[in-house]
């Protein structure tokens, strides 16, 4: 039973698009564990490495040449803010994984700067995830993960790794940065999977 605090009313229930425990923001808060890595575009590269070590890589120009999509999605941060109808531009992981031959069930995402996060491969497929390089019609700002970040809006936003560099396809699951620090393995906002064991 929750403890009722006399005098607290709150702003009231929000709409069905907001998962439990979340509140809406209009601005775009930033949360990251260290300084913002800055990657010059001529040295930027995105790779997918399979469990057998086969690597597919894209330079910045190669990524830009791929068919792009412009998803408008709601995003949810584990620190309790949600932001509705954010508009991005990027390349669907369906496009990037199209020619990749793998039996892996899991992905460990690596970022410039050393950040990692893990998720099941199927959570990146079927139009659920993108490598995004524009936000709101502008190039993605470095503090929001530019030049490119992963965008996996159906999971808490720490899974949407900023400054994404490489996807490591794996047969086994291995926890990433926050997951090793006590956060949930999966991170479904609708089930409030914030911390390990939730």
């Amino acid at each position: 039973m929750a403890i009722v605090t006399p005098g607290f009313r709150g702003r009231g229930r929000s709409d069905d698009r907001v998962p439990p425990g979340q509140y809406l923001v209009e601005d775009f808060p930033v949360l990251s564990a260290g300084p913002t890595p800055r990657v010059p575009l001529d040295r930027w590269q995105f790779s997918i490495v399979t469990e057998t070590g086969l690597q597919s890589s894209w330079s910045w120009d190669e990524l830009q040449a791929l068919p792009a999509s412009s998803p408008t999605v709601d995003i949810h941060c584990v620190t309790q803010w949600s932001k509705l109808a954010t508009t991005w531009k990027g390349v669907s992981l369906d496009v990037l994984l199209e020619d990749v031959d793998t039996a892996a069930d899991y992905v460990l995402v690596h970022s410039y700067g050393g950040y990692t996060t893990n998720l099941p491969l199927e959570d990146l497929l079927d139009g659920k995830a993108w490598v995004a390089y524009e936000f709101d019609g502008e190039p993605l700002a470095p503090d929001h993960g530019g030049p490119a970040r992963l965008l996996v809006p159906h999971l808490y936003f720490w899974k949407s790794a900023k400054w994404v560099q490489r996807l490591e396809l794996r047969l086994d699951d291995t926890p990433g940065f926050w997951e090793q620090l006590g956060y949930h393995e999966y991170g479904d906002p609708w089930r409030e999977q914030r911390y390990a064991g939730d």
Binding site: I3, D27, P35, T79, G113, T116, G182, Y195
Partner: protein, 248 residues
């Protein structure tokens, strides 16, 4: 960055249960910030730098949750928070102007295993705070003092005007503290109001005997600027830990 540090054995359990927190004392920190002293039976303990989640529930069952840093080092069931009033803010307004001594709400934690200080870490400490970003860093300062820890420590706090400095009385007596005013400086201060500059940061870093571990906390713009400046001064990015809150 993360990997190396994690190999050093950083693994942190997050308490999963909601615990009852009773307000046993409250004091004004500034005209717009208040420190709440909570008694939390069953609190599992925490490291300086960690935060917790507050859950407020209204009589009709509506509830709201927010994160707040812990201002004090571990001392059993006592946990102190300092909350800044955010105008129109759902939770902060209640915690700063509504909640009374004797009232209770729920907390869960501690949370955060990265922005923490472990006293065994021999690196000198560079703490840089903007506004309410002082809160988790004050827990580090207080733990450092309590242990009479040998690591050299420098704290830089940036506030708009003298009234906005939290823990002013306590900080006044401490060595290694630099207060920077951005809008209005105190009478007789030699420094005109201005944002914390890279040369000022460089001067503080130069007072430390070797590469420090840096903890930077405050609003996003402030954290970005300071973290970038520290990297430009030659600090290893892996040694610069950041926590961002407040307006972005």
């Amino acid at each position: 960055m993360a990997r190396a540090a994690l190999r050093g054995g950083l693994s942190v359990a997050v308490a999963r249960r909601w615990l009852e927190a009773r307000v046993v004392d409250a004091r004004a920190e500034t005209p717009t910030a208040r420190t709440l002293v909570l008694d939390v039976p069953g609190w599992p303990g925490h490291l300086p730098g960690q935060h917790l989640t507050v859950r407020l529930t209204s009589p009709d069952g509506y509830s709201a949750q927010r994160s707040y840093s812990i201002a004090t080092p571990d001392s059993g069931a006592r946990v102190e928070l300092t909350v800044q009033l955010v105008p129109e803010g759902e939770v902060s307004e209640f915690l700063v102007t509504g909640v009374q001594v004797g009232d209770a709400f729920e907390v869960r934690g501690p949370v955060g295993g990265w922005f923490v200080w472990r006293a065994e870490d021999p690196a000198p400490l560079l703490l840089v705070a903007g506004g309410s970003g002082i809160v988790p860093l004050m827990a580090v300062v207080r733990e450092h003092r309590r242990l009479l820890a040998p690591q050299p420590l420098e704290l830089v706090v940036s506030v708009r005007s003298p009234e906005d400095l939290y823990y002013a009385g306590e900080l006044a007596g401490l060595p290694g503290v630099t207060v920077v005013h951005t809008r209005r400086a105190p009478e007789g201060s030699g420094r005109p109001p201005a944002r914390l500059s890279a040369p000022e940061l460089a001067a503080v870093v130069a007072r430390l005997p070797e590469q420090p571990r840096a903890y930077v906390c405050g609003p996003t713009g402030f954290v970005e600027a300071v973290a970038d400046a520290l990297v430009a001064l030659g600090l290893d990015p892996a040694e610069v830990r950041t926590e961002r809150f407040g307006p972005s």
